[in-house]
């Protein structure tokens, strides 16, 4: 009896400590990745990195100015194409939808959210690249935009549903029609949440590489217009990392560092925005 109790206590302590170790290991992965990129990326960063074209193989120096511009372009197209659809469809789900239609739209959005990004790339390839017969920034941006839609939709719907119905009722009682109440009261009330959702969604697709491989493709030159293949940071990291050249590896670290910083800052910023939101909403 005594022995059994000791054994149980022993198992208790060992297993509980093990769960702590698991948590510590999982969390430290982030800090390891962050630290490693910080050390290697920082060394490789220079002013040239931001403003120069990639150097040809064998030459040192060069930068990824074209990829930075390219990524910005892709995100702009994604923002313009994906956000309105997700946003307005989210308003529909939260404010207008009936049961059956709402269920269908939500179901399809969940389905789209689960689609592997590379499959989204194939889809955009078949509907944009094949008819146009060439890779283009437009195709890459649309691929990212299509990925934005379900994310923005669900976050918009959630934040709109979080708006207290007393606000809606107050607006309606003042004689506003439903759409006015929604446009001038409900959406502004959820504005910060919706913006945060969009920011997070952008941060998520900014690092996507797979759907860009055969839509926006890659380029060693400055990105021209929206109808040409364009370089982008994630694809650049990929091609440089698997190349055999030391100089390219350094550039990949620098690009990885920039990309990770952008993603983390967006995520932490979004979290801060949301936590600030909690206090004034009480009043």
């Amino acid at each position: 009896m005594r022995f059994r109790d000791y054994r149980r206590k022993f198992v208790n302590i060992v297993m509980l400590s093990l769960t702590g170790v698991c948590a510590l290991v999982s969390v430290s992965i982030l800090f390891f990745v962050l630290g490693y990129l910080l050390v290697h990326g920082w060394k490789a960063l220079s002013w040239d990195f931001f403003i120069k074209l990639p150097a040809p193989v064998g030459e040192s120096g060069g930068g990824m100015g074209n990829a930075i511009i390219g990524s910005a372009k892709l995100l702009l197209i994604a923002l313009l194409s994906g956000v309105p659809v997700g946003l307005i469809a989210g308003v529909y789900l939260a404010e207008f939808s009936g049961k059956a239609v709402g269920f269908t739209v939500r179901y399809v959005a969940d389905l789209l959210n689960g689609v592997p990004s590379i499959v989204m790339g194939i889809f955009i390839y078949t509907v944009v690249v094949l008819p146009m017969h060439h890779f283009s920034a437009l195709a890459g941006g649309l691929a990212l935009g299509a990925m934005l839609v379900p994310i923005v939709l669900r976050s918009t719907e959630d934040f709109l549903r979080g708006v207290p119905s007393s606000l809606r009722e107050a607006a309606l009682a003042l004689g506003a029609s439903r759409w006015r109440a929604i446009a001038t009261v409900v959406i502004p009330a959820a504005g910060r949440g919706i913006t945060t959702g969009i920011l997070l969604a952008l941060a998520r697709v900014a690092g996507e590489t797979a759907p860009l491989l055969f839509t926006s493709f890659q380029s060693q030159y400055w990105s021209q217009g929206f109808n040409q293949p364009t370089a982008s940071l994630p694809v650049m990291i990929y091609t440089y990392a698997i190349s055999p050249y030391e100089n390219w590896h350094r550039q990949a670290w620098a690009a990885g560092f920039i990309l990770l910083m952008l993603v983390l800052i967006a995520n932490i910023g979004a979290r801060l925005l949301l936590s600030r939101r909690a206090s004034p909403a009480r009043g």
Binding site: R8, V11, N12, T19, C22, A23, S26, I29, L30, V33, Y36, L37, I88, A89, Y92, F96, V101, G102, T104, V105, V108, A109, L111, L112, V115, P116, S117, I118, V119, I122, F123, Y125, T126, F135, V149, P150, P164, S165, S166, R168, L172, S177, R178, W179, R180, A203, A206, E208, T209, A210, L213, F214, I237, A241, I242, A252, W253, L260, V263, N267
Partner: protein, 330 residues
Amino acid sequence: MTTTTNILPGGSGKRAGGRIGSWRGRLLTGDKIAHSITLVFAACVVLLGVLLVLQLWWQSSLAREKFGWQFLISSAWNPVTEQFGALPFIYGTLVTSGVALVIAVPLGLGAAIFLAELAPRTLSDIMAFVTELLAAIPSVIIGLIGIFVLVPVLRVYIDPALQSAFGFLPIFAGPIYGVGLMAAGLVLAIMIVPFIITVSREILLAVPADQREAALALGATKWESTWKVVVPYARSGIIGSVFLALARALGETMAVTMVIGNAPVISTSLFAPGNTIASVIANEFAEAMGTMNLQALIELGLVLFAVTIAINALARLLVLATTRKGSSHP
């Protein structure tokens, strides 16, 4: 507070608008326009989903007709002779995801138990946030770490150690390259651990406190109450979180492509290079030779799509079932 939020679903407001007699016409038309516009955008979302399925189906029609179900069980992949079979990629996908689950499930579940049951709320929230950040790291960056840190470490230390200890098992036999199924499984594990932690933690937190208290009152230790009462209570939700993670692992592309070695072969050893469905698409799509090659790759995409959607749906059902069960016992 929370109950009042849901009082006003779609229909009731419209009825309220209708009751204001003389304003009715003007109000309804404005609302109707707004309703129709938003409906069009919602329809766009559905259209996007439908079009995605149809395009994958149509654009792979030639390959589907030529190879039939043989496509799934043939291991020939030769763009030159136009022989395409998906078996090596299906095998690679299953093996890497399997390795990832073997590593990530105990790690993630352990961490989730710590965060939900042991850690003080503040620490738990901070660590959960860090986990979310980990999930936000782009795949290509995990791949970067994979190539330059993980693969060398595997090649020099871990793989030889495993081989000398368990070399009699076929999965640890054969030459060591560093890149291969093992490395791919490891990067996948890193990428899915955050999902298992986040979802499992939520589910464990939803387990009613009286379950724990009852077990403790019966004299169970903390671990016994957790492992024999709380975890079984949350079982289907935890399994759901594992399926969610699995769906993500199956479709994960970049990190895997960078460390798997990219060879369309089936080998029993985890140290051997391989290929997954997603990685072969990433590698060959842009330079596919001819229509049949492209169609075969799109058919691979179709297979991947079907599998991930099925697993996702199953996972959502399981998670939904548990969280409902949890919240119905206040």
